[in-house]
């Protein structure tokens, strides 16, 4: 069979697979196709599902990249580890790309230079592409997340003078920093406070502070605490101005945090480049998952060009052996971990929280937005092609551990939303 014939076949197979997934098996799919005809079925599905994207992402061996010299933006935090390390450790090169990683000063700036096209792909907080695609807090530009960067890896840090604080209720009147409105940090901090009976809009002040400025603000008494990415929690301990009150994994074990994102347009216009970058990121993520590599990676990303932090601090974050600022040395191997799979259910959870706190005022179709932005199906194929093992389901139940244990069922987002006493809807 010719090369193009192979591609066409592969595309059809992908389409079938998606149809099967959507209609719940081969029988449901056949019934639907019989009822409306094959072309209509395919078109109807394409309107619901980013079929072109999945096809682009499913090619096993991508063709030569349309563009080799790429710029990828990042914020200097350990969440961006796979994106950053892929440069000094040669993962982009391995996939035929010449990538410059560019440090940005704040999340608003990283959003703007990405929308402008000054960067080709970018590090983002996982709620950002959802918000930007919906046009919430930004102009509306369709974005995709082909890979989550890290899970866990954040913490609530409080100023050293608050060492006596035990519960959320003790934090009434605090001024908190989070990196951005559309961040897991904001949603996890709000979740944590609300579970402790503290209304995050009325009883405390939460404001957006760029991560690199957090320690300085804590020291200047301008903040009482923050839920922030590392190394800025650990750096506060290192500077003796704060202590780690709680790791984010104790709020939601395995929560997503940062993401590797790009404009939908980039994926559509340069499918091969998109695929090659994704492969490089997946490769790097796989490498950093192995805990025996963490020290070597800390040394590679600590210099001025990347995080610009003492190696010691980055190492404490990545290895999970760290002083907490209260005199204890803790050993938490999964303090930060790396898992690229963008579960649709994660996106749906984020959307429920955006709704809960009034960032989204209208009704959204959770499933559709999640599937358009979080490319779980395509990621799974790309992972398989690289010999990695993606999970079977794109929708799973998530369990949040803080306060009353709540199980989030992605099929019942509205019930979940209604189960919260403190909410803005």
């Amino acid at each position: 069979m010719s090369e193009t014939g192979m591609d066409a076949l592969r595309a059809r197979v992908v389409e079938r697979a998606v149809e099967r997934a959507v209609f719940g098996g081969e029988l449901g799919r056949r019934a639907f196709v019989r009822a409306v005809g094959a072309t209509t079925a395919s078109a109807a599905l394409a309107s619901l599902f980013p079929m072109a994207a999945v096809k682009a992402i499913a090619q096993e061996k991508p063709g030569p990249p349309e563009k080799r010299d790429l710029k990828i933006g990042f914020i200097p935090i350990t969440c961006a580890t796979p994106i950053i390390m892929a440069e000094p450790m040669g993962f982009y090169k391995k996939h035929g790309l010449n990538v410059q990683v560019l440090k940005a000063s704040s999340w608003a700036m990283i959003r703007d230079i990405s929308i402008n096209g000054e960067t080709d792909a970018t590090h983002m907080l996982s709620p950002m592409p959802l918000a930007i695609s919906l046009g919430v807090g930004s102009q509306s530009v369709p974005y995709v997340i082909p890979a989550v960067e890290n899970i866990n890896g954040q913490a609530i840090t409080l100023a050293a003078k608050h060492k006596g604080v035990k519960t959320a209720a003790d934090m009434k009147g605090f001024k908190f920093g989070v990196p951005f409105d559309y961040s897991m940090h904001n949603f996890l901090l709000r979740y944590f406070l609300a579970e402790g009976g503290v209304d995050p809009d009325r009883d405390v002040q939460i404001r957006a502070v760029p991560p690199p400025e957090m320690v300085a603000n804590l020291r200047a008494n301008n903040l009482d605490g923050y839920l922030a990415p590392d190394p800025f929690n650990q750096r506060a301990v290192y500077e003796e101005v704060g202590f780690i009150y709680m790791l984010s994994k104790d709020i939601w074990p395995g929560h997503p945090c940062c993401a590797f994102a790009a404009k939908h347009e980039f994926m559509e216009k340069m499918p091969n480049t998109f695929q090659a970058t994704l492969n490089a990121i997946l490769d790097a993520t796989q490498y950093v998952r192995d805990k025996s590599h963490r020290k070597e990676i800390a040394a590679a990303i600590a210099p001025k060009n990347f995080l610009n932090q003492p190696v010691e601090v980055v190492e404490q974050v990545l290895t999970g052996v760290f002083p907490d600022g209260l005199g204890n040395t803790r050993n938490v191997p999964d303090r930060i971990d790396f898992d690229p799979f963008p579960y649709h259910s994660m996106a749906i959870w984020i959307l429920t929280q955006m709704k809960r706190w009034g960032y989204i005022k209208t009704d959204v179709s959770y499933r559709r937005v999640a599937e358009e932005v979080f490319l779980a199906t395509g990621t799974a194929r790309a992972m398989r092609a690289l010999g990695q093992k993606p999970p079977e389901a794109t929708l799973v139940k998530h369990t949040l551990a803080i306060g009353k244990t709540r199980v989030f069922d992605p099929d019942q987002p509205d019930d979940y939303l209604k189960s919260f006493a403190i909410r803005r809807t």
């Binding site: 990683v101 000063s105 690199p212």
Partner: protein, 259 residues
């Protein structure tokens, strides 16, 4: 006169020395790495940076010389275009009291706006962070020159303009031989204020956009809480500011005239 000058230099050096000693004594009360770094630590950092000011380790790590050059490049572009526009506009307004009074309210509203407040608007419309920074410089150096030029041109002695019309000079010759020279001291005074405010704005603009420049350098070192580098950068920014101002001061001495 020379004796007087000697005394000024001596006193100035004494004040400087006293400040540095007090700073060192204050910094010495805390162990190294905590509190404010002393002048010795800053000096060591300065030595290290000045030893290799033009190294280039990729987009996020460049020598201090390259960072300053990037800032000066932006400054030149923004400042020169703003100055050209401000002088043209200023001459027009200065020659026409009617137009001046009509436009003045708008200038008064726009003048006190911090140039950085324009940044989000520029980013959104121009869609280029580098050009947005240059436009911020443009906005910061437009108003002082504009106001001073308009004032300088408006207060040219009527006699000069009358002579020019008796001689039936063309419009362009009148501009070049009468108006601009007569208003030159006021214009240069405006240019001098403008370059100061542009240099102040560039640091803040670069802290916002990131990338290159001395403002980004300060921000990047702050992110690592490397205060020695921050203090050294502050000194470098101050010195360059003095040089820029001195250049224009020299120009203004050459253009001064007595009536």
């Amino acid at each position: 006169m020379t004796r007087e000058r000697l005394r000024v230099v001596f006193l100035s050096a004494l004040i400087g020395l006293a400040f540095v000693l007090a700073w060192q004594a204050f910094a010495g009360t805390k162990p190294a790495g905590k509190g404010i770094p002393g002048p010795l630590a800053v000096g060591a950092t300065a030595w290290q940076m000045l030893a290799d000011p033009f190294y280039d380790n990729g987009p996020n790590d460049k020598g201090i010389g390259l960072q300053l050059a990037a800032s000066l490049g932006r400054l030149t572009l923004g400042y020169l275009s703003a100055s050209a526009m401000a002088v043209m506009l200023g001459v027009t307004l200065g020659l026409s009291p009617l137009l001046y009074r009509a436009i003045n309210p708008y200038v008064q509203v726009l003048k006190p706006v911090s140039p950085l407040a324009w940044m989000p608007l520029f980013l959104y419309t121009i869609k280029d962070s580098g050009q947005s920074a240059i436009l911020v410089i443009f906005m910061s150096s437009l108003w002082p020159t504009l106001a001073n030029t308009a004032f300088g041109v408006a207060s040219i002695k009527r006699d000069y303009l009358n002579v020019a019309s008796i001689l039936q000079l063309s419009w362009s010759r009148r501009l070049v031989t009468v108006i601009l020279p007569a208003a030159a001291p006021a214009i240069v005074a405006g240019l001098r204020i403008s370059v100061g405010s542009a240099w102040v704005a560039i640091v803040a603009a670069e802290m916002l956009i990131g990338g290159t420049g001395i403002g980004y350098f300060v921000w990047n070192e702050w992110n690592n809480l490397a205060l020695t580098s921050v203090i050294f950068a502050i000194l470098a920014i101050g010195l360059i500011g003095v040089l820029l101002d001195a250049g224009l001061a020299r120009l203004s001495r050459r253009l001064a005239y007595t009536e």
